[in-house]
């Protein structure tokens, strides 16, 4: 079946005329129609069919780029001109973006086919997708479980084969954790690698987009077109983009893997630990060397992140004022009433909580104790990695302390935050990180996290690809 093909295989299939982009697109649209996971906020069937026909005519002329005609799902945090862009919020339920995100432009330029916009935690704040205005997404492996978040719709869509790949964003783990919980390959590149222009901001010094695919090879193919300098994003890195598919086949012999002892302490589920350790021993079999390392400040990443991110979010989300776009309350009495009610009615609970924490931490008298202190801790977290990367090439460990948990089971925000322990440091330090399928615990997928030094995406993709040549976890599917 076409939906079981990887992107690399679909590219060949299109080129060899085994099927057309229209057939491929229609096949996925039918699958989306039958899906009950709530993975999509909007399905853009008409535009998809138009784009697929266009792609087919370009393919027929023989001047197509490599990804022409490949369908994908776009996280609803990326602006798409003329198409609703909600960020999972009531605030933007009626927002039709007047412009395209740079990433959207790049994918359009390849003549790819957008199937629709995927569900997500409101403004990317959450680790379970339960914070979406459009309702939670269900995990395709067990529909009573969460898919993870915030890119939960994207992860569920790729895992259930209703899209060959999806875009995601990762501020504190939002690509890697849902990738782990849904059993797919998710890559969060180095900060600045992919343009943030037109990607609705949560915490600007942490936000980074990335591909969510089934295989590392597909991830490399997609990163090739996602990455690159953009003058419209002032934090975009002016750095050349290598061909990420070139070094996938390098041997793992002599690769130095660091295992941070702090990532294997109490709180880590035994089933998850077993899967992760087995994966690491697979790397040893491939000739890699495993070294115990220490990231002593990683435990402090939680309070540091949950100050830095809410502070940035309280500033970023002040733009939603009911004046220029988005939700406006009925019959405002005066300007303050307009602000207060539009924001209180438009934002969900978790978003309001983070805005309040940020507003408090930045308010007069508290700035030094919270924000400034958190930034100093951020430096310590970053220095830990700097030291470790003098000794090893890549750090490995779990992505999440447990496999997917039951929908509705975690009600306390603090417990939810604590589960981000293994992913937050990577964002604070701006490093690239990946989650790859590494096995199962109680029939639920478990991801292995790979963390590299700045700009080491090639190495991460190489290591992930080598693992996928030796194992079959990435081919496990919750659907036929």
């Amino acid at each position: 079946m076409m939906h079981n093909l990887t992107i690399a295989e679909q590219i060949k299939g299109l080129k060899n005329r085994e099927f057309s982009s229209l057939e491929l697109t229609q096949h996925y649209l039918n699958r989306i129609d039958d899906s009950k996971l709530n993975a999509f906020i909007s399905v853009t069937s008409e535009q998809a069919i138009t784009q697929a026909k266009m792609a087919d005519s370009i393919l027929a002329k023989g001047n197509a780029s490599s990804l022409t005609g490949i369908p994908y799902a776009h996280k609803d945090i990326f602006c798409t001109k003329g198409i609703k862009t909600s960020a999972g919020s009531k605030m933007l339920d009626s927002f039709i973006s007047p412009y395209d995100a740079t990433l959207t432009e790049k994918l359009n330029y390849q003549n790819m086919v957008m199937l629709g916009k995927t569900n997500m935690d409101e403004f990317a704040m959450g680790s379970s997708n339960e914070n979406s205005y459009y309702g939670p997404v269900k995990n395709p492996w067990d529909t009573k479980k969460v898919p993870g978040g915030s890119s939960g719709g994207s992860a569920a869509a790729v895992a259930s084969r209703i899209s060959p790949f999806a875009t995601g964003t990762d501020t504190g783990g939002s690509i890697r954790q849902p990738a782990s919980l849904c059993g797919i390959t998710g890559l969060k590149p180095t900060y600045g690698r992919i343009s943030r222009y037109g990607m609705i901001a949560y915490a600007s010094s942490l936000d980074q987009a990335g591909p969510m695919t089934r295989t590392a090879e597909d991830s490399a193919i997609i990163l090739n077109v996602m990455a690159g300098f953009d003058t419209k994003d002032s934090t975009s890195a002016n750095k050349s983009v290598p061909d990420y598919t070139q070094n996938l086949s390098k041997s793992m012999k002599g690769l130095k893997i660091g295992l941070p002892k702090e990532y294997f302490s109490e709180g880590l589920d035994k089933g998850v630990e077993k899967v992760v350790m087995k994966a690491i021993s697979d790397y040893e079999t491939m000739g890699a060397e495993v070294i115990e390392v220490s990231l002593p400040n990683s435990i402090h990443a939680i309070p540091a992140y949950y100050i830095v991110a809410p502070c940035e979010c309280s500033s970023n989300l002040s733009r939603f004022d009911g004046v220029r776009y988005g939700y406006r309350c009925d019959d405002p009495k005066d300007l303050n009433d307009l602000y207060l009610r539009s924001r209180s009615e438009g934002f969900g609970d978790e978003v309001k909580r983070r805005i309040m924490i940020g507003a408090y931490a930045l308010s007069a008298g508290y700035y030094d104790a919270y924000y400034l202190k958190a930034q100093k801790v951020r430096k310590l977290v970053s220095e830990d990695f700097k030291k470790v990367f003098k000794e090893v090439d890549v750090v490995m460990g779990p992505v999440s302390p447990s496999a997917a948990f039951d929908l509705g089971s975690v009600k306390d925000p603090v417990s939810m935050y604590l589960a981000d322990i293994y992913t937050l440091s990577v964002n604070l330090a701006g490093l690239p990180g990946m989650s790859i399928p590494a096995g199962f615990s109680d029939n639920l997928p478990v991801g292995l996290q790979l963390i590299g030094n700045h700009w080491s995406e090639e190495l991460l993709l190489n290591a992930a690809h080598q693992f996928q040549l030796k194992t079959d976890w990435h081919n496990s599917s919750p659907v036929d």
Partner: protein
């Protein structure tokens, strides 16, 4: 640092959010639980660590002061909740 209901109301107003009186107690409780976690920051010895504002410690890129944006005011006004005579309209501020 623990917040009371009045402080929570004050912060909510700073953030231009309103909290119903019926929800105030619960909000205060939740925010205090979260701040309990954040207060761990105070116990960390950060020595002379420099505050880190940018993950790559890059400096801000500058560009020539030239107009690069195209005029999209019509498109932007089209999606606004309320406009008139090329302006975004809000309730009367000055009588």
């Amino acid at each position: 640092m623990s917040l009371d209901n009045n402080k929570v109301k004050e912060i909510a107003f700073l953030a231009r959010l309103s909290i119903e009186d019926s929800e105030l107690e619960q909000s205060t409780q939740e925010l205090n639980n979260i701040l309990g976690l954040m207060d761990q920051l105070g116990e960390i010895d950060t020595g002379d660590a420099e505050p880190m504002a940018h993950p790559l410690e890059m400096s801000q890129r500058l560009r020539d002061d030239q107009v690069t944006e195209e005029d999209l005011s019509e498109e932007f006004q089209e999606i606004a909740p309320k406009t008139g005579s090329n302006h975004f309209l809000v309730p009367t501020v000055i009588e």
